[in-house]
């Protein structure tokens, strides 16, 4: 409420000076429209410039051959039919640039890498940046694992370089700049919703950083993702939305879906297998789940055109690789669905502990574009349970106390594995850590590691991180009680009865794999299988986000301050009035008044004109 008061005046105030300038320029408005003028080039300039003024420098003109391209762009789309009958499409665009952002030399000449992001990374000394905007919740139980998990709303986590001295200040500035770049309300990230996880969020790129004071993690579960976030995201792509896979990204279709998630990941990666030099990798990912039941009129037939209202016609000419993968694992002999045009190429990839088979369409090959230029799929489903998934809800009644329940399911038939659970709870839910209980299969399950950072009012949220061992084929329940705090009246959001969001808990796990994982990270693998670096052959890394919570806080009646003012003023006035009366009234002895009969007699006497009694 206070904000909305301020805004118009802010504009007024800042306009005051602009108006002054405007008055000056109105006379020049006519000039403004045709202010373009041809550059008259004096001969001498060209001539002089032709001779580089510094004698030692090699002349800039005609270098013998174009320098080897230092940056590389790849694009990729994976389409996976989901068990629920929905379709999951995952785009990844990767730009790798052999530029050293962490050195002293300022990086300022951009080719494929977007300049706006590069400037941010340089200015704020960012080592790794991960930002995601998600609309909808990924239903792990129905859809299985996503290639790139993300919590609902906005998530931002950043590793700063160790040269940054004032991490909190830099973080604040960075969030403000990013909110401008992505047209999102990331500027609402402040110390009250920022945490420094100690174990969960390790750098995904190279570099063995252990000092988590350079890490900041924040989520904004309330953030609504829409077209205005997609447009700046597309602007970061070298081909924009003009060519390649990005022509499919039309917002009217993308946001007419059950799940939409877009993300930007920047991290340093190895340039060569020996890892002598590093490059900067920018991955832009977009995941979308289309609901077939509601928009397909009961038909389960789908094509690119039906999903995106566009077809692919060419690869982005700047991309070194441009591929479309379609998951055909569930269709080994082709008895379940048919894919047209006919699959020219098959590949296998191990992703999330599962060996999957994919049909590959290489867009850089002209042969991929047949006469139809669209893909049609007929699909049938079977049910498969994911190994790890989770649920979270708030229990309890009334507006004072409550309980957060987190259920973590391990569906592995015989293997137990450890998971890291991170939950960041805002300060206005006062967690009672002594009520923390962890149980699985009816027995107490003691976490082997607990990191708990209590909240400070209006400064920082609760941080609870623990390492849990999940027994095979079990449900582990983590409960903790909390009390709802009373906020100051200016701290309520404009619609406080909607409730307050609590960001997703994060479950990070090394899940035992049935098939051997490939630990050689430099091998040329499809992008979607190489995001999380793989350290062991027998297990793979996975992250699960729980549902965000919506908690009702005790909400005052906002006209109350005025009512209180009125009431107290009235009480004060009444008290003061009687006191005043008492002090200023003149007391005097009064003669007793005549009786009622006497008075009536007097009235009658007056009428008759007889002297009174």
């Amino acid at each position: 409420i206070a904000n909305s008061y301020n805004r118009p005046t802010l504009i007024q105030l800042q306009n005051t000076r602009e108006e002054e300038e405007e008055q000056q320029t109105t006379a020049q408005q006519e000039e403004q429209t045709k202010r373009w003028e041809a550059t008259e080039l004096e001969e001498e300039h060209v001539h002089d410039a032709a001779v580089p003024p510094l004698a030692g420098d090699p002349p800039a003109a005609d270098p013998p051959s174009p320098p080897p391209s230092k940056d590389d762009f790849q694009e990729e789309l994976v389409i996976r039919p989901l068990h629920s009958g929905d379709i999951y499409a995952s785009f990844q665009f990767r730009t790798v640039w052999d530029a050293d952002f962490m050195g002293d030399q300022k990086v300022s000449h951009y080719r494929l890498f977007p300049k706006s992001l590069g400037q941010v990374i340089t200015k704020f000394s960012v080592r790794e940046l991960h930002i995601s905007f998600t609309q909808g919740y990924w239903r792990t139980m129905q859809w299985g694992q996503p290639y790139l998990p993300s919590p609902p709303g906005a998530e931002l986590w950043v590793w700063f370089q160790d040269t940054v001295t004032d991490v909190d200040g830099t973080w604040k500035e960075l969030t403000n700049v990013l909110s401008g770049i992505f047209c999102a309300s990331l500027n609402f990230i402040d110390s009250t919703n920022t945490v420094q996880p100690s174990a969960s969020f390790k750098p995904l790129g190279i570099g063995n950083v252990t000092d988590h004071s350079f890490l900041r993690y924040a989520t904004l579960p309330r953030e609504i993702v829409c077209t205005e976030n997609l447009t700046p995201w597309k602007k970061l792509l070298p081909c924009g939305s003009k060519a390649g896979l990005s022509v499919l990204l039309k917002s009217e279709k993308l946001f007419h879906s059950t799940f939409h998630s877009q993300a930007v990941h920047v991290r340093p990666v190895c340039q060569d297998p020996q890892c002598r030099t590093t490059s900067m990798e920018l991955r832009q990912t977009l995941n979308v789940v289309f609901d077939l039941h509601t928009s397909g009129q009961g038909k389960r037939e789908w094509s690119l055109f039906k999903m995106f209202s566009r077809t692919l016609t060419e690869a982005c000419p700047l991309a070194s690789s441009s591929k479309v993968y379609v998951d055909v694992t569930d269709n080994p002999q082709g008895e379940q669905f048919e894919l047209s045009p006919a699959t020219p190429l098959l590949t296998q990839a191990v992703v999330l502990g599962d060996r999957r088979t994919y049909s590959v369409y290489d867009l850089t090959q002209q042969a991929s574009f047949g006469s139809s230029r669209s893909l049609n799929m007929l699909l049938r489903w079977k049910m498969l349970r994911p190994l790890l998934h989770s649920e979270r809800y708030v229990a309890g009644y009334g507006l004072q106390a409550g309980e957060i329940h987190t259920l973590i399911y391990n569906h592995h038939p015989y293997r137990a594995f450890p998971v890291l659970l991170l939950s960041a709870v805002p300060w206005y839910l006062r967690l009672y850590i002594h009520t923390l209980t962890v149980s699985s299969k009816g027995k107490d399950n003691r976490p082997s590691y607990i990191h708990y950072q209590p909240s400070k009012d209006r400064e920082r949220p609760h941080l609870l991180e623990m390492l849990l061992q999940l027994p095979p084929n079990s449900v582990t329940e983590v409960t903790v009680e909390f009390e709802r705090a009373l906020l100051k009246w200016t701290e309520y959001t404009p619609d406080p009865n909607h409730g307050f969001y609590v960001g997703s808990s994060v479950i990070s796990a090394l899940v035992p794999s049935v098939v051997a994982m490939d630990t050689n990270s430099t091998l040329d693998r499809p992008l979607f299988s190489s995001f999380f670096p793989c350290k062991e052959e027998a297990s793979y890394f996975m992250r699960v986000y729980t549902e965000p919570l919506l908690v009702n806080l005790p909400t005052p009646d906002f006209s109350m301050p005025y009512n209180v003012i009125c009431l107290t003023c009235t009480v004060v006035a009444v008290g003061y009035g009687s006191l005043y009366n008492l002090l200023t009234r003149t007391f005097q002895v009064d003669e007793p008044s005549p009786g009622l009969a006497k008075r009536i007699a007097n009235v009658i006497r007056r009428f008759r004109g007889v002297p009174l009694l």
Partner: protein
């Protein structure tokens, strides 16, 4: 009866004392607790700044070489002389120019230097003899018969802060030293106006403060072309490739910036911080479809349609995320294969030789045709093309000089100004820029701070926090920086003393501090608190409290009046 009278007296006293308590304690208490906090501001000093009296001082050293002075003149020529000139620009702004001339004769080494065969060499060797401080001018007077300057040239201005002036013919000069000085002074003033500042430059720099009478279109365009003074500039080179399918473009921008742009910017470093970056934008189209001219077998773009060219491109240029300094854009547009070659025509329908155009305070764009590099159809697309950066940078450099205001106004007749090349910048040209930028900064900062003071004066509800007051006042406690008023006073004082470098430094600080003050967020905290809400809150308290007090006061007053009447009638 007596007791009743005593009671009445007591009641009156009680009412009076309550009224006194309310007035003496209640009202001040209410006033203090509901007041908006206002830190102390130097209002008087700000009002003084509203009337700007700038004095610009130049040190001019006039050196007479052998043969220019007769012995009796030499004795009588004064050591120093001060010339002042006052100009009233408008009601609040006055300018005073002060030329402090020092006269001396040349020493032996300078005499030797002046004997060099050409003026350029003489200029160089004079420079090695003594380095004159920033903002000063040295004029060497040489005899009429000297062969240093070519025929018909009276004044030579070199790369540094020195000028060589030819003494007039002896008979026009006259014998008396007064006649000599009367002859020389206007010419020296002319030299100084070319080398440091002229009245038109300074008034143009004051355009933020003073509304100029609309002059000719030409001068207006000139004054609007260059960027306003700012503590930093971002220079962005963008290569627009609308057709990556038919050509792959390579430009060695790093090398080109290093050899062409950087020398100029290094020279300009005292003025502002420059940062350079570049990007390549693919599928960036112009906003206008060029027309095909069959007579030229080329596409043409008219000067009238240039204004519409940029809009769709500009959305993709991207603002600078990392700073808020103004951005100078330089675009190199390589037309796609189907719209090539593309030529720009000016208002007279003549092709522009450089094939480039620029927009004031925005930047420039150049069209670079590559279709003749495709080869004859045998090479597969896309074709790799290397851009000739020499050609491109020549154009961009000329545009950059225009945008930064490094333009040489045409020299008066008889003047020979040594051309200093595309990348170079003469010392005196830098001085000229520094003079006008300092004045511009001072003018902008004073306008900002005075309008802010007016605003604070008009709107009583604005909160005035300590940090805000710090940016306005003398010293900023929190940032450890000078406040606007102090920096402005220092800048004006340094201008008066002729220390150009310090003056520029302080004026930059003044600009920064004034911007900080103007956009201080704490100004808005209590701004919106309308009167109707105030009354709604105060009435339930004040009405029941004040009405009895007022009524009893009226009653007491009327009783007192009655009593007085009674007494008078008794007397009568």
């Amino acid at each position: 009866m007596a007791t009743a009278e005593v009671e009445r007296k007591r009641g009156q006293l009680a009412a009076l004392s309550i009224a006194v308590v309310v007035v003496l304690v209640g009202v001040p208490l209410w006033w203090r607790t509901t007041e908006t906090y206002r830190a102390w501001l130097p209002v008087n000093q700000i009002n003084e700044l509203a009337e700007l009296q700038l004095q610009l001082s130049v040190d001019v050293e006039v050196v007479f070489s052998r043969g220019t002075l007769m012995p009796e003149q030499q004795k009588k020529v004064p050591f120093t002389r001060t010339q002042e000139e006052a100009q009233k620009v408008d009601d609040d702004t006055t300018l005073r120019y002060r030329y402090e001339s020092k006269y001396r004769t040349a020493n032996i080494m300078e005499e030797d230097a002046l004997k060099q065969p050409t003026a350029a060499e003489a200029d160089l060797s004079l420079h090695t003899l003594s380095a004159s401080p920033c903002g000063s001018v040295v004029v060497y007077v040489i005899p009429e018969t000297s062969v240093l300057l070519p025929q018909g040239v009276d004044v030579y201005i070199g790369h540094r802060r020195t000028a060589v002036l030819r003494m007039g013919a002896p008979m026009s000069v006259g014998k008396n030293h007064k006649q000599l000085l009367a002859h020389l002074e206007p010419r020296i003033t002319q030299v100084v106006q070319v080398m440091s500042f002229s009245h038109t430059d300074i008034t143009a720099a004051l355009s933020d403060r003073v509304r100029l009478s609309p002059g000719s279109k030409e001068s207006l365009a000139d004054s609007m072309r260059s960027f306003k003074s700012s503590p930093g500039y971002e220079i962005t080179f963008s290569l627009l490739n609308p057709d990556p399918k038919s050509h792959r473009l390579d430009w060695d921008i790093e090398g080109a910036v290093h050899s062409y742009i950087q020398p100029l910017l290094t020279k300009l470093a005292p003025l502002a911080n420059f940062s350079i970056d570049s990007q390549i934008l693919y599928y960036a189209m112009l906003g206008v479809n060029p027309r095909f001219d069959s007579s030229l077998e080329a596409y043409t773009l008219n000067a009238d349609s240039l204004a519409h060219v940029i809009n769709p491109v500009e959305a993709r240029l991207g603002s600078n995320a990392a700073s808020s300094n103004p951005v100078l854009n330089f675009l190199l547009y390589v037309p796609d294969a189907h719209h090539s070659p593309l030529y720009i025509h000016d208002h007279q329908k003549q092709p522009v030789a450089s094939n480039a155009f620029h927009s004031p305070r925005w930047g420039g764009i150049m069209v670079y045709n590559v279709n003749d590099l495709y080869g004859r159809g045998e090479t597969p697309l896309p074709v790799n093309i290397n851009i000739n950066m020499e050609k491109v940078m020549g154009v961009f450099l000329a545009q950059l000089r225009l945008m930064l205001g490094v333009q040489s106004s045409p020299a008066p007749p008889g003047f020979l100004v040594e051309p200093c090349g595309g990348a170079g910048l003469a010392d005196w040209e830098l001085d000229r820029l520094m003079w006008s930028r300092t004045v511009e900064n001072v003018a902008t900062a004073t306008t900002t701070i005075t309008s802010l003071a007016q605003l604070l004066d008009q709107i009583g509800n604005i909160l005035c926090s300590l940090s805000f007051a710090g940016s306005v006042n003398l010293f900023h406690y929190i940032n450890n920086k000078l406040g606007t008023v102090t920096s402005l006073q220092l800048a004006v004082a340094e201008l008066e003393a002729g220390n150009l470098g310090f003056a520029l430094q302080y004026s930059k600080e003044a600009i920064l501090a004034s911007e900080r003050a103007f956009f201080d967020p704490s100004l808005l905290h209590l701004l919106y608190f309308p009167d109707d809400q105030k009354f709604a809150i105060y009435i339930p308290l004040f009405l029941p409290m004040c009405v009895p007090i007022l009524l009893s006061l009226i009653k007491i007053a009327s009783e007192a009046r009655q009593r007085r009447k009674l007494k008078q009638s008794k007397k009568d």
